[in-house]
């Protein structure tokens, strides 16, 4: 990553917008497509004023037609454009799985390497907004199961910008999962063009007693838990997963070899969530011999996301739950 000197505070949404603006200035082939991304500025105001800067031909409002919209982006990518298609909520990608999974992910392979589909899908995800079961899912694991796709999940404004620019630079289809509760999160963001490499996790906090691998918003809750445990003299290493496909095997295994304990935390439903893959990856590696305790996972409840706010909070991992699980792990109480 080649971040230049100038750094200011931006929100996660502003960082994404800046990445799109920089990409559009650098490359006329980059266009934005999606529902209400123009004058409306996007349901979460991520595209914001880009319509004013780049006009309706490059910031295209699409009809409400996700299968077709995603497919148009795939066809455009196949023939010279670099589209960024915004799903208004990632839940609506359920309508476009055919184009994402059967076409975008497989075209290069099915055509024997003779074609490329450099498309980016933006996926606003997660719960906490009171929008209930059809507007709050975390489906990144589905795409992590599909060869031909790359899947990233930035947790900070800096990574949001760097990963979106990396996704655009990638010759293959990339999905970027953006947690809706992070859009307003502010943080330092380097100016200008830089990319955050896809496939690399990052250690947000070093520690010797326990490794927590967390994704998206859970990174912040894991760091809160780590703070609390530090007071108790427990040093937690917190890894921000960042990339769901490919997974950064080396960073995770290296950490587990040092700490001997692993807790994985994500918002997606626990069963078959990314935590399952990370746990299994460790359990079949040489790091298995370094494990001093079972591998724990915290994920979403085995239920759709409920509307009632208390239930909604109870449906996904919160800081106290992470703290309790981490404590139990280091105290060998599992």
């Amino acid at each position: 990553m080649n971040a230049p000197a100038g750094i200011r505070e931006l929100s996660y949404a502003e960082a994404l917008r800046e990445a799109m603006a920089i990409a559009m200035e650098r490359d006329p082939a980059v266009i934005l497509m999606g529902e209400d991304i123009g004058v409306y500025g996007g349901a979460f105001q991520v595209t914001g004023d880009l319509i004013d800067r780049f006009g309706p031909d490059r910031v295209m409002d699409t009809p409400i037609a996700e299968l077709g919209g995603a497919g148009v982006a795939v066809g455009a990518a196949l023939t010279g454009l670099k589209p960024i298609y915004e799903f208004q909520f990632s839940d609506f990608a359920t309508l476009a799985m055919e184009q994402i999974v059967n076409q975008a992910a497989k075209l290069r392979y099915m055509l024997g390497g003779e074609a490329a589909v450099p498309v980016v899908f933006r996926m606003p995800a997660g719960s906490g907004t009171g929008a209930a079961a059809q507007h709050s899912q975390s489906l990144e694991a589905w795409f992590g199961h599909v060869p031909g796709l790359k899947v990233v999940q930035p947790a900070t404004p800096e990574d949001a910008k760097g990963l979106l620019l990396a996704a655009l630079a990638d010759p293959d289809p990339v999905l970027i999962f953006e947690h809706k509760l992070l859009y307003k999160l502010r943080g330092p963001v380097p100016e200008g063009y830089y990319t955050t490499p896809i496939g690399q996790a990052v250690i947000r906090r070093p520690g010797r007693d326990l490794t927590i691998v967390a994704s998206a918003i859970m990174v912040h809750r894991a760091l809160e838990a780590a703070e609390a445990l530090a007071v108790e003299g427990v040093e937690v290493e917190v890894i921000d997963l960042r990339s769901v496909r490919p997974i950064d095997r080396d960073t995770i295994l290296g950490s587990v070899r040092r700490t001997g304990r692993l807790l994985v935390v994500h918002e997606a439903v626990k069963t078959l969530g990314i935590g399952a893959e990370i746990s299994a990856m460790v359990a079949e590696s040489d790091a298995f011999d370094c494990l001093d305790a079972p591998i724990l996972r915290l994920g979403g409840a085995e239920a759709p996301i409920p509307y009632n706010p208390e239930l909604e909070r109870a449906a996904v991992p919160q800081t106290p739950g992470i703290l309790a699980a981490a404590r139990a792990l280091v105290r060998q109480e599992v």
Binding site: I64, A65, G130, A131, A303, N308
Partner: protein, 340 residues
Amino acid sequence: MTLAPPALAEDNRPFAIRRYSPARLRAALYQMILIRRFEEGAEDSYTRGLVHGTMHLSIGQEASAVGSCLELTDADKITSTHRGHGHCIAKGADIGRMFAEFFGKQTGYCHGRGGSMHIADVTKGNLGANGIVGGGLPIAVGAALAAKRLGRPDVTLCFFGDGANNEGAFHESLNMAAIWRLPVVFVCENNQYGMSTSTARATASATIADRAAAYAMPGVRVDGNDLSAVAEAVSTAIARARSGEGPSLVENLTYRWRGHSKSDRNRYRTKDEIDGWIARDPIARFRAELIAHGILTGADADDVAAEAEAAVAAGIAFAKASPAPAPTEVTRYVHADAAP
């Protein structure tokens, strides 16, 4: 539903006046006002922080909801949308349980699990609002298929918006309903925008009713702010469905007064446009019609409004006083056999 004495040939009063009894007409006015007050109450509750999330208000579209449901019995089904409060009330929902759902209470229609976008009352034939644009279309066709296969006389009325008409689900659903001649009526509430995108920018055909021809079914556009016009078109379509002749498409041209949802900054409509439509208030219009035709006096109409006000106040009170679900019950209702 009690009917008025058979209309005489030369009777040229509006359809609704001819067809329905004074009591039924009064009830229709009541429902329209109740929808308006209910949504104002919901909006107010939202501002007071009693409601979580967002909501989609149908203020200005009351004639479409009430006019479309006039002919329906509790055995008939409807599928609704994210903008479905009016449909629920028109299909007979209890507003106390609706408010309770907004407030996330155990006494709500979904026991606090669904919220505004999922209110349903299967016992009254309301198969539910839907958070997915176009999501209700194939479900409605399925309900009509079930009625036909099980030999039930009920019809299904499928509400959807102008934005939904560009979803593939619209095409697949209307095609299947037509080839199988199913008892379903597709009611498009064309409020001229899908969120910020006008029908002119999103829909290639001049009207949505025009698309009915692609499915060899009747399609008609009516003034969706004229309850009587809506009722006439929909009752014709329902009669066709009941008699086994198959589906129809009715397009109610209307307008939403409020923003798309709570986060709408309304960058895509002019104040003039909005004011022009507010001047075409469907409630004021129907009220005047009832008075003009001697169905109600102005005083009667004021009583109707007062009753609606009182019902909304009572509904909010009920909802506030209701218990919340136990936070431990996150997985309750996932499966028939799911433990709390």
